[in-house]
Point group: C2
Chain length 332, copies 2
């Protein structure tokens, strides 16, 4: 299998990206990597050339570029060339830590949607607290600003396929994010979506879930519109970051006593941080496209790149996308 890598995307590119690829190469000797970007820059970090091809380009998309314009105008940008490679069948998946909006646009306009999937959604596997490897798949986390009820049903199908094939969850429990657990609760959008989800065959819809219960593992797949999903994800991240930094400040304010306490609790605090860190599950998938299109945080380091390559490897090996393509072909 071949993975097209936008080596120039992200705050620490190309170093972090290429170093991550070098780590992943050890795990997956069956993967060929196509690295798009400045050859001289990339070469500095290539410690082993086996299964690595560098495709040189000087152009790249920056984080400030207006996404759709950038994709259309910067025709030789590393991200655009990587997406083209997937479109032309020269690669099976694309990975980037660059401009999220641009990657979404590249995914939609270059790689293309699965037939009958109207609005691909951004999906991440988020952590379940107290379960070291536990997680739930949530989408849409912000690929769309407005969604229709039908899109949420598509997210339920996409998420179920992912949880079952890629994360190996049997009969994944799908829930609708709502403002109450009762079936009658909700906005116009979620009430209608609840109805459609209840009628949808082939998914294990368990009803509504409230945002409060997400991290406790109330469901394996959570569907919501992209605006709400984005707000919820950022609320979780913001709260976690603020609490960690508050804890740090409180400990420092205690002086020597604080330092000693923190030393004794080093393992506990480290364990807590690691449970919150969901990069071990990989990056965010723009799901509903004809090939895996995966985004990680711009600040991503080599270890997170390695996890994301593992995720892409599993997605390709389990053929989750071709299976979705067949599923949706039979749909009217």
């Amino acid at each position: 299998m071949k993975i097209a890598v936008d080596a120039m995307g992200g705050d620490h590119a190309p170093q972090a990206i290429v170093e991550g690829v070098m780590l992943a190469k050890q795990d997956f000797p069956d993967v060929e990597f196509l690295l798009y970007g400045k050859e001289t820059e990339i070469k500095k970090y290539v410690t082993d050339e086996k299964n690595v091809t560098i495709i040189h380009t000087d152009e790249k998309i920056s984080s400030d570029d207006e996404p759709v314009k950038a994709i259309r105008r910067k025709k030789t940008a590393s991200m655009v060339l990587a997406a083209q490679a997937v479109k032309n069948g020269e690669a099976d998946a694309i990975f980037s830590a660059g401009n999220t909006g641009a990657l979404l646009a590249a995914g939609l306009f270059i790689v293309g949607r699965i037939k009958n999937v109207e609005r691909p959604g951004l999906m991440s596997t988020l952590p379940i607290m107290g379960q070291a490897d536990g997680g739930f798949d949530m989408l849409d986390l912000g690929a769309n600003a407005d969604n229709k009820p039908e899109h949420l049903v598509q997210y339920a199908v996409l998420g179920s396929f992912y949880a079952e094939k890629v994360r190996n969850v049997k009969n994944p429990r799908v829930a609708l994010l709502n403002n109450g657990t009762e079936a009658t609760k909700g906005s116009e959008l979620t009430k209608k979506a609840f109805e459609l989800l209840s009628e949808e065959e082939g998914i294990n819809f368990i009803g509504n879930v409230e945002a409060r219960d997400l991290l406790s593992g109330a469901a394996d797949v959570v569907v919501t519109d992209g605006f709400t999903g984005n707000a919820v994800l950022k609320s979780i991240e913001g709260t976690a970051l603020n609490m960690m930094s508050l804890l740090k400040t409180s400990i420092l304010a205690e002086g020597v006593k604080g330092k000693m306490g923190a030393l004794l609790l080093k393992n506990a605090l480290r364990g807590m941080k690691s449970e919150m860190d969901y990069s071990k599950h990989g990056g965010a998938v723009l799901f509903g496209l004809k090939a895996p299109v995966i985004k990680t945080h711009g600040s991503t380091g080599p270890e997170a790149v390695r996890y994301t390559i593992r995720q892409i490897h599993t997605m390709l090996k389990t053929e989750v996308v071709p299976q979705l393509v067949s599923y949706y072909e039979t749909k009217e």
Copy 2:
């Protein structure tokens, strides 16, 4: 001033409610309390009868009652009688820790909306991390499941009045919760709301804020639709609770070392917990009604009741509601 108290609402009613009132009486000798509920039950906790009147009723609304039906059918329920007292001018504000939906219904149908405020919103003062007494006012936290752009402008005005008059914030910075900080970002709803907020005179609109930056104090007033607000609030609460319990588990798993560490960090951990606890700012205001209608958590204890009475006292003293009534009378 007179406050009508639903003494039967909440998990620990009437004990927690009446004990809280007894505490608040010491702070505010100028307040008369009208306690609605079972006289014999309430009397057990009344340690000082001065400024306290008990209005006996056997009926109450439970947390399982369907809100609108309950308000219409249980005409002598403690919450309904308390709301009636406000409507009839026998009391100036109502306080309840009972069924949220029922209190919203009682507020809307019995107390009534301020003229020209279409959809009152639920507002709380949420904590800013690292500022002991800092907070920001956010609404709508879930009184409505669907909102129009115009409602968000009303929330901006309501929140500004509250921040300025009640919390004493000069020229409060109002922000729109959105999926990006750029002016062009957003859903159909937030794009239109951004436009209207930019044109609105008399508020200090500073643009968009992302959910990630709320707890760092990015704004003094944050407006959003009730569905998103509800999801964001519950995400923050869920993340905070999960992290605290994860920390506890991690510490316990460390055995003696964990216990010693926790002992040394006792103050730090307590300080962190207290910063997250926003009950010091009072309860949630159903804002946009002709009188203060305030709700606290069902699990509320006497201390939180005391804080909420202080909040109501400030709202009455500063005449924030009558000022809003005048403001909206001059509108159109």
